[in-house]
Symmetry: C2
Subunit: 499 residues, 2 copies
């Protein structure tokens, strides 16, 4: 067994995965409505082939062989091998029978969640949630390496190296900082006008505007495309075929404008990964948090920049053919930056968004490390919303039933979103030491920013672990202060507060 | 080995084929331009998997077993087995080494053909053409069952049961009949006006019109879609996912209008095949000629009907928003039916089109049955055009270099197009004995026509051989007279000739 054979085998699996990704993309974007049953059958067959290549006898042989003979691998081969081994072991430690039972429970959990949302009653989901938690608790010891607590094991699934100890400290600081900013805004701020944001902007106008913006930001349309879906996503077939989707709302242009800027950030990451990692598991973002840092860098940092909008607004006005002629730039920009406490995570503004995540983090930690009674969950959820966001859900639907993650057995995933915010701000801080980011965003050429991200983040794909990536790119470990500084600066400006 | 196992195995192969079809569709319709190399690599890997399932050890075992034990198969299983065995044997009789050499030669032939088109010189293609012919001559004895001549073997590849003996008689009659109609038109006809046909009709207007028309004609958009490509095609993933493509020309609406009507005819065939054949090789049209009969039934028979256009023209006028207000129905309809001799097959009108095919048929027959000198080909080609169509190519590009078929090693394929014309007219003749087709086309409900095609043709998929299908549907074997009658009626009407 040679490295060459191993890499050729991995390439086969990656090719099959690419075919499967296209099946998914097509299903989400344009498959005829009546072909759902056939597609489900096809995807089930094809993912079976991918599963066999990923976890079957031949892969087992490679894993055994190169564990015993690490010297037979080059540094490159070793990198691919270790990444592959992670998911191989994660999977292989679970008994096949239990895996199938879990898959079955997942299906039930999803339909129970949908049902509970209809009845607006957490009780209808409780049993399935309990089952998801039981399975996860059963798997945690199998996944555990040297993590300190059960919930640490879950965090590690999505953000290798992340711990409860780190997050407790970081989130505490972040929560307090955000609440302090919110208090100051409530006390001294002048709320921006927002009514004009809901003027009609046609899909064609929005598309014209946003395609130019993401091209400016470095997303290469000749190596990608933009389609319509209900739930926006970025999907990578390979680094020359990185697709974005969005939902258009003609009564609220911000949905697609910020949505596409966000997805293009994911797309930039994927397009810019060094081609030498192609057809290996290293040819993707290194973690959910780091991926999100790139989409949020686009959405929050660039999309939050006054200089950026000052540059883009005239084109927006031109494309919208007079609709915003009576709105001067300052009114427009301030309108985009309104913030207020809200109940639904995916509708939250960027200042309050991390609070939604912190609430979920604290609750997940209670579930896995403190074994709380599930009957208490809605009460705990609502109390935390009241405490952190000053607004209390009146029903389960606007509270604990809003997210699909738990019904999908994804515990430990939520923190990635908040990590993305913090990483993005930390990259921004560091980038400002190398170049004047606002000046670049006010210019005709964003390439210094694109280049910085490519050089320090994108090119490495998953060959650097998240903590190593952050450390090498910014010279320090994760620090929530940069996000707080950024938010304070942006929101105080929008609310006309001197500081 | 049971029938159940065999059918399950065939289903796997069909699923893989479906995935491969989607890869092709995506490449043709919307893949990012710079992803071509990656896609080619992916398709090569995936078609390798399909090849292994189709011709590998396991299929060989099934073929051997059920050849020895036909009694182990139900009638249904036997149908699937025999269809599968056809392509299995066709492939397996060719030595793998020779197959690969042929694949390599194919690549060269294509690039030589492209080059010769650039230099406009048949000599640059001659060597590759000679190589394609040699390979084909080498394979013919391996494919031969009981066919009378080498060219019969090639005809059989695309239209099982078709022979030189039949075609010689049919094409002679057809050629004479068409030339007679053309002579009468030249003598007595009043040519229709055509200038208004090139008025601008936007893509959006054309799309609105044509999507309504094909829905009227029975194509189910909830089980299909319509996309843009350079070369239009119909592609089937499964009977609930049958996709059409077209090219739009805003200066010539006929390109897309008749193009989509044509492709929708293919689509109707595929959508209406009995679901019991799903995931077997019987779930497709039974031959190229029969498939073409359905697209041409739509394009030539329905698209040539005065009653049909009388019904649709007001909607066309409405959709084109006044562009054709000054053109009364009779002028419009007659304009669509102009005919004249031309050099390029794919631009020919429906009266002269079969002559283009007959020329190719006669030349292919000379190549394989008479071993003519390839140096004489351009001269022979040009002489035949002068004789049959009254117009002589001045260069190879407008003559012998125009089609891609020979560079793709596809000899014996051209006749299918002409068969499609004749089958379509023969179905029309028979359909008229069961219902008044013109009356139906002048009504709001085309379902009697849709139903007739479904009942007599579509539902059977490939479970009936072409000659059996024609015989059962029309009560007689192929008869070119119906096409001549139809053409005479349609063109004499358009050219205001009494008969």
């Amino acid at each position: 067994m040679t490295e060459k054979e191993f890499l050729a085998y991995i390439k086969e699996r990656e090719l099959l995965k690419e075919a499967n990704s296209l099946l998914y993309w097509d299903m989400a974007t344009g498959m005829p409505e009546k072909a759902a049953e056939q597609r489900s059958e096809l995807m089930s067959y094809m993912s079976g082939l991918e599963y066999d290549l990923s976890y079957g006898d031949k892969m087992t042989d490679f894993m055994t062989h190169f564990t015993q003979h690490p010297e037979a691998l080059s540094d490159f081969g070793q990198g691919v091998f270790l990444k592959e081994k992670e998911s191989f072991e994660r999977n292989n430690r679970i008994d096949k029978e239990r895996y199938l039972a879990f898959q079955k429970a997942l299906g039930l959990a999803h339909s129970d969640w949908v049902k509970a949302r209809k009845t607006n009653n957490f009780q209808d989901f409780k049993e399935s949630l309990s089952s998801m938690i039981s399975f996860t608790k059963e798997f945690i010891p199998l996944w555990q390496k040297d993590e300190a607590t059960p919930y640490d094991v879950l965090l590690n699934l999505y953000e290798p190296g992340m711990t409860v100890e780190i997050l407790d400290g970081v989130f505490e600081k972040l929560r307090k900082g955000i609440i302090e900013i919110r208090n100051t805004i409530a006390e001294k701020g002048t709320p921006p006008e927002t009514d004009f944001l809901y003027r009609k902007v046609t899909k064609a106008q929005q598309q014209k505007f946003i395609e130019k913006v993401i091209a400016d930001l470095g997303y290469d349309m000749s190596r990608g495309r933009l389609d319509d879906t209900i739930h926006p996503f970025e999907l990578t077939l390979n680094h020359n075929d990185v697709r974005l989707t969005t939902r258009w709302d003609e009564e609220d242009f911000q949905t697609a404008v910020f949505g596409v800027i966000h997805e293009a950030g994911h797309g930039l990451y994927e397009q810019n990964i060094d081609a030498k990692y192609s057809y290996t598991p290293l040819a993707t973002g290194t973690s959910m948090g780091c991926h999100e840092s790139q989409s949020l860098f686009n959405e929050i940092i660039i999309g939050g920049s006054r200089a950026f909008w000052q540059k883009q607004y005239p084109y927006f006005q031109e494309v919208t053919e007079g609709t915003f002629d009576d709105i001067d730039f300052d009114r427009f920009y301030r309108g985009l930056k309104v913030t207020q406490g809200s109940l639904i995570r995916i509708e939250a503004d960027s200042l309050t968004y991390p609070l939604h995540i912190i609430i979920r983090y604290e609750i997940e930690k209670m579930i896995f490390n403190d074994n709380i009674d599930l009957d208490d969950l809605p009460q705990i959820w609502n109390d935390k919303y009241e405490e952190y966001l000053g607004i209390r859900p009146e029903t389960d639907l606007e509270g604990i039933l809003q997210d699909s993650h738990w019904s999908g057995g994804s515990f430990g995933y939520f923190p990635s979103y908040a990590l993305g915010f913090m990483y993005a701000a930390q990259f921004y801080h560091r980038m400002n030491q190398a170049l004047d980011v606002e000046a670049v965003l006010g210019s005709d050429d964003y390439s210094p920013i694109i280049q910085w991200n490519k050089e320090h983040i994108h090119q490495y794909g998953a060959s650097r672990k998240p903590n190593q990536l952050i450390l090498e790119a910014t010279g320090e470990t994760m620090n929530p202060q940069y996000l707080l500084d950024f938010m304070k600066h942006m929101y105080f400006d929008a609310y006309q507060i001197e500081y």
